[in-house]
């Protein structure tokens, strides 16, 4: 009886359960490798295309980042992307400024004031808002927000304000969900201590609850901004797409994403115009990394 067992150990690597273990291990490792290769490939291709504007077409990187005139087909071609950068930053910042207070109030309502009603009605509402496709938001923005702004304010109604309002609704679920998770994870002892000292609910919320969860709330806002920054079609539909810095919130302008969306299909691969659009994509990508970095820093502070 001893001998076969020893023999079996010698050929252990072909035992069925060892083999199936290896198959599983290799399969899942390949899956995760695919993911890593994909992200490396995205960064490599976007960077090599985006940088060729500077190396192959001889455009000065400073001119691209600070130039005010975008006329890639002109003579001489001008690659000033500052209007797009300005458009992207202003729309996403304004959207975050509108959505952050709303999202935080919704989170406070769901966790501190009426958890039952909040979980039952507000939670599904937020989830449905998150599920509505961005082109539908763009369509509604075009047929409701733009005419409304045109009626109230001077101008055509298109522009930064319209874009920010559409984006604000789109990022509201992101901010609310993260804020709700953060508030719900707060140890109840903190709140009870405050109540026991005779503080009102509002005093407890803005002296105890909000300061303790601030890094997490900011995480939500930054993630929302990051989503707003990368959103393409909904913004493109309501922003007007004029390539200059507007003088008011109600004047036609462009963002990085809207410029890419509009022109990428009409340029020839390898041309200076096409490469310049890839540079815009590279700026988008770099901003994504910066947003992720900020989120990481905030999360680290949150854990401390």
């Amino acid at each position: 009886m001893e001998q076969p067992a020893v023999k079996g150990q010698k050929v252990a690597f072909v035992k069925p359960h060892v083999r199936e273990e290896w198959i599983g291990r290799i399969y899942t490792t390949l899956c995760i490798l695919f993911l890593i290769v994909t992200i490396v490939a995205i960064v490599y291709f976007v960077a090599s295309k985006g940088l060729s504007t500077f190396f192959k077409n001889g455009v000065n990187i400073g001119d691209l980042l600070t130039g005010l005139k975008w006329n890639p087909e002109g003579e001489p071609p001008l690659f000033g992307a500052l209007p797009f950068i300005f458009g992207s930053f202003s729309t996403s910042l304004l959207a975050a400024l509108i959505a952050a207070p709303l999202g935080c109030c919704a989170a406070i309502f769901m966790t501190q004031i009426m958890p039952g009603v909040g979980r039952k009605y507000l939670q599904p509402v937020i989830e449905l808002l998150a599920g509505i496709p961005s082109v539908v938001y763009g369509f509604v923005g075009l047929s409701v927000i733009v005419p409304m702004l045109r009626a109230i304010f001077p101008g055509q109604g298109i522009g930064i304000m319209a874009g920010s309002l559409v984006l604000a609704v789109m990022i509201l679920p992101t901010i609310t969900t993260i804020a709700t998770d953060a508030l719900a994870a707060l140890p109840s002892g903190l709140k009870e201590g405050s109540f026991a000292l005779g503080a009102t609910r509002w005093q407890t919320i803005y002296r105890i609850v909000i300061p303790t969860t601030l890094p997490a709330l900011l995480t939500g806002v930054v993630l929302g901004m990051s989503r707003a920054f990368g959103e393409a079609l909904a913004v493109q539909m309501v922003i007007g797409n004029a390539p200059h810095i507007p003088r008011s919130l109600f004047e036609s302008t462009s963002t990085l994403t809207s410029a890419i969306t509009l022109s990428m299909g009409n340029t020839i691969t390898g041309s200076a115009h096409n490469n310049a659009l890839w540079s815009l994509a590279l700026i988008l990508l770099t901003m994504t990394f910066i947003f992720v970095f900020i989120v990481r820093v905030l999360e680290r502070r949150n854990h401390r």
């Binding site: 359960h17 199936e20 198959i23 599983g24 291990r25 399969y27 899942t28 490792t29 390949l30 899956c31 995760i32 695919f34 993911l35 994909t38 992200i39 490939a41 995205i42 976007v46 295309k49 207070p101 709303l102 109030c105 919704a106 309502f109 009605y121 507000l122 509402v125 937020i126 449905l128 808002l129 599920g131 509505i132 496709p133 961005s134 082109v135 539908v136 763009g138 369509f139 047929s143 409701v144 509201l172 009102t200 609910r201 509002w202 005093q203 990368g230 393409a232 079609l233 539909m237 994403t257 890419i260 969306t261 990428m264 691969t269 994509a281 988008l284 994504t288 990394f289 992720v292 990481r296």
Partner: protein
């Protein structure tokens, strides 16, 4: 100001914001459905679009969206679930795992238009697949994978430790433990998450503009040979999806009834996404009831 008054004012404001958000959703859905539903008819759902005449439908677009969804999920689910299992079961805590987690996080926050551009460069041009359903499905896979990985990872780590340890103690291999003990327990969560991810795929447009293309060739719905260029099942033909169609007719629609078509198509899109949402909830609860003793 008196602390009690401040408390009352703040409570009223927070209530008002909560009510505002609910009204916002009702208003949004109401607007889309009221404007769109009158335009939806069997003819609208099945006929081909017209470029300059009125009366075009969204038949091919609707079919393309559904077909693309199936193709994408066929590629995404096996890879995403595999990678999620790796992250939750095989990855050892440490620097390497943390950086993989960071990679997944970064990938999930890439703007979809950048993923679309990557798809155009690699799948359409380098692999020479051309503007096609397959390129679109691959781009959407890239876009959707991080979500799938996170869903699987969370579902797998939600499995009770005792179940896993009991199985390992009985001498089953780790892979056997994962596939036949842990995976069935995690399945309801994974399926719910997958349906929600599918809803996201259905509404995505930016990643598809430059991969699946913005045109839809005439389809012959009697030809079901996947290799024929006019067959709806051919994965190598360009295909405009419903979401892309809405974007296109809003920005460059020439048909006189472009606004109505956009409204109708938006309503169809939103109804489908709502169905996905409610379907996921219902199915998740059903599976949960079926697999566990809770009611």
């Amino acid at each position: 100001m008196n602390a009690k008054t401040a408390d009352r004012i703040a409570t009223v404001v927070i209530f008002a914001v909560a009510a505002f958000i609910v009204l916002l959703l009702i208003g949004l859905l109401g607007f889309i459905l009221v404007r769109g539903i009158s335009h939806i008819s069997w003819d609208f759902l099945t006929s081909a679009p017209e470029t300059i005449k009125a009366g075009g439908g969204i038949g091919p677009q609707l079919f393309n969206s559904l077909f693309l969804l199936v193709l994408t999920m066929l590629i995404t689910v096996p890879i995403g679930v595999g990678a999620g299992i790796f992250m939750s079961q095989y990855a050892k805590p440490g620097r390497l795992t943390n950086s993989i987690r960071l990679v997944v996080e970064v990938l999930s926050s890439f703007p979809s238009i950048v993923v679309g551009l990557f798809g155009m460069l690699v799948f359409v041009q380098k692999f020479d697949i051309g503007f096609s359903l397959l390129s679109g499905a691959l781009a959407l896979t890239v876009f959707n994978l991080p979500l799938m990985v996170r869903i699987t990872e969370q579902a797998m780590s939600g499995v009770p430790r005792e179940q896993k340890e009991a199985s390992l103690a009985l001498g089953l291999s780790r892979w056997k433990t994962i596939t036949s003990v842990m995976f069935p327990i995690a399945l309801p969560t994974i399926i719910t998450g997958t349906i929600l991810a599918a809803g996201r795929v259905f509404g995505e447009a930016a990643a598809l503009l430059f991969t699946a293309g913005m045109s839809s060739p005439r389809l012959d719905f009697t030809d079901w040979n996947p290799l024929s260029p006019f067959s709806p099942l051919n994965p190598l033909r360009p295909a405009e999806t419903l979401a892309v169609h809405i974007w296109k007719i809003n920005s460059e629609g020439l048909a006189p009834d472009a606004a109505e078509i956009a409204a109708g198509a938006s309503a169809v899109l939103v109804i489908t996404v709502l169905l996905f949402n409610f379907g996921a909830r219902w199915f998740g609860r059903y599976l949960h009831r079926k697999f566990t003793a809770t009611r």
